[in-house]
């Protein structure tokens, strides 16, 4: 065991954790919006809209995240037309490509989580709202969404942790996130176990925090029976 290496690599890895957290928070934020949008599309009665939303989630859940990042980062740059538009400013940056890929990926999973949460809301609750003369819009925003959020918290917590692990793939498109820096230190020092313990420890710590925050929220928003 090389404890000196563990101590010297710790600040470097901690610095890289900031990149990981930035990637995670950006993709979770956009992914939640995208997921909500597609979950609402899934509940639409129109069969085409419904099928469209289903195939989106099916494709992104059925293929590895690595393929998705590679298509966006290496693949899209190949289209000549894209290079001339303003989108190229975003798509030439690996940072934004990673965020786009993560957003699309987590959006697919989130839409499934939210859809199933919406579907488990008892029709009686909506009917009760209707019989009180509350408008459909307010029923949706004030009754259905809060209940759906509560229902989907445990599954969404898992998704956050999966996404946090997913951000490690940003290192494959040259970004120096926690895994990227860890790999760099391993390949220069050939001390994989020490670096793994430190980097893995940081990841585990983040998992621990996320897990407990979700647990706290679950308790806070649980129904008073």
């Amino acid at each position: 065991m090389d404890f000196d290496l563990m101590i010297t690599s710790f600040p470097k890895l901690l610095g890289a954790t900031v990149v990981t957290l930035k990637l995670l928070s950006a993709s979770l934020f956009f992914g939640l919006l995208l997921g909500l949008f597609f979950a609402i599309l899934r509940l639409n009665k129109n069969i085409f809209i419904n099928k469209f939303a289903y195939s989106y989630s099916y494709i992104f859940r059925g293929t590895p995240l690595l393929v998705q990042i590679f298509i966006i980062y290496f693949g899209l740059g190949q289209i000549e037309y894209l290079r001339t538009t303003f989108l190229w400013v975003i798509l030439k940056e690996p940072y934004w490509c990673a965020i786009i890929a993560f957003t699309l990926n987590t959006g697919a999973y989130t839409s499934e989580i939210l859809r199933s949460a919406f579907q488990t809301i008892k029709p009686g609750i909506i009917e009760a709202g209707k019989s009180l003369g509350i408008s459909n819009k307010i029923i949706f925003y004030k009754i259905q969404i809060p209940i759906a959020i509560r229902q989907s918290l445990p599954a969404y917590g898992n998704e956050i942790i999966l996404m946090m692990k997913g951000t490690s793939l940003a290192s494959t498109v040259t970004l120096m996130d926690l895994t990227g820096v860890a790999k760099y230190i391993i390949s220069t020092t050939f001390k994989p176990i020490e670096v793994f313990i430190v980097a893995g420890g940081i990841y585990l710590f983040m998992t621990f925090i996320i897990h407990n925050v979700i647990k706290y929220l679950e308790k806070k928003y649980s129904f008073q029976q």
Binding site: I59, G62, P64, L66, Y203
Partner: protein, 230 residues
């Protein structure tokens, strides 16, 4: 379509063999995972606190750390660890383990953590009366497990194991970083030499979709079979 031709002019046959490699690695990893689950599920369900701790340590660490980091640990640390063990037995030559073994071991350990959780959940949700009834009927321990408990565990575990299989299948794309030529690696090579990454990575996505679709269909059949009695 020319790019996908079989033979020397296209990448069809290379991608076909790469797909077979992905399937082989996934199956090996899944089996390695079952082996780990076989060890760690009893530990997690044990009466002894220390054994519980060991089981929980395994599943928590592996499920909380990115797959890629585990793969790097195996890729860079694998041959070192083997050589260390060999040096104890007096063998000092350089040993290189091949990418297939490293890859399927790394993915197998990850998939094992998920399988352990699935089996633990399935065993815990079986009614205690089932164990007691089997005992009362005078069935021996072996018969109790294989004829009464195991079929029930499988019925409960198969839907979740199919999720584990999907995760494992998708995780195998990550071992392309170690140089094992599976779908992702082959697409990378093809994309590099034809300068057509969009096509090859999209084709890789289609191959993965095909694999998940077909395997889901097969697993659904298994599910129906084990649900016969219900």
């Amino acid at each position: 379509m020319e790019l996908l031709a079989f033979g020397k002019t296209g990448w069809g046959d290379e991608l076909f063999y790469a797909t077979l490699m992905t399937i082989a690695v996934s199956i090996t990893a899944m089996l390695v995972g079952f082996f780990f689950a076989l060890i760690f599920t009893p530990l997690k369900l044990s009466k002894y606190k220390t054994l519980n701790l060991v089981g929980n340590f395994y599943t928590t660490v592996i499920r909380g750390v990115p797959e890629l980091l585990v793969i790097y640990l195996f890729f860079f640390g694998g041959s070192g660890a083997i050589m260390y063990v060999a040096s104890i037995f007096g063998y000092y030559e350089y040993i290189e383990i091949n990418a297939f073994i490293t890859g399927s071991m790394a993915i197998g350990i990850i998939s094992g953590a998920y399988s352990t959780e699935v089996f633990r959940g399935a065993i815990q949700s079986i009614d205690k009366g089932q164990f007691e009834a089997a005992k009362v009927l005078g069935i021996n321990k072996f018969g109790q497990f294989y004829k009464i408990i195991l079929p029930q565990i499988l019925r409960l575990a198969i839907p979740n194991l199919s999720n584990v299989w999907q995760i494992t299948l998708k995780d195998t794309s990550l071992i392309s970083v170690t140089g094992l030529v599976e779908i992702m690696r082959q697409s990378y090579i093809a994309a590099g030499s034809t300068r057509d990454p969009l096509f090859f990575y999209s084709f890789a996505a289609v191959l993965y979709l095909l694999l998940t679709y077909v395997s889901m269909k097969l697993i659904n059949k298994l599910e129906v079979r084990y649900n016969k009695g219900y």
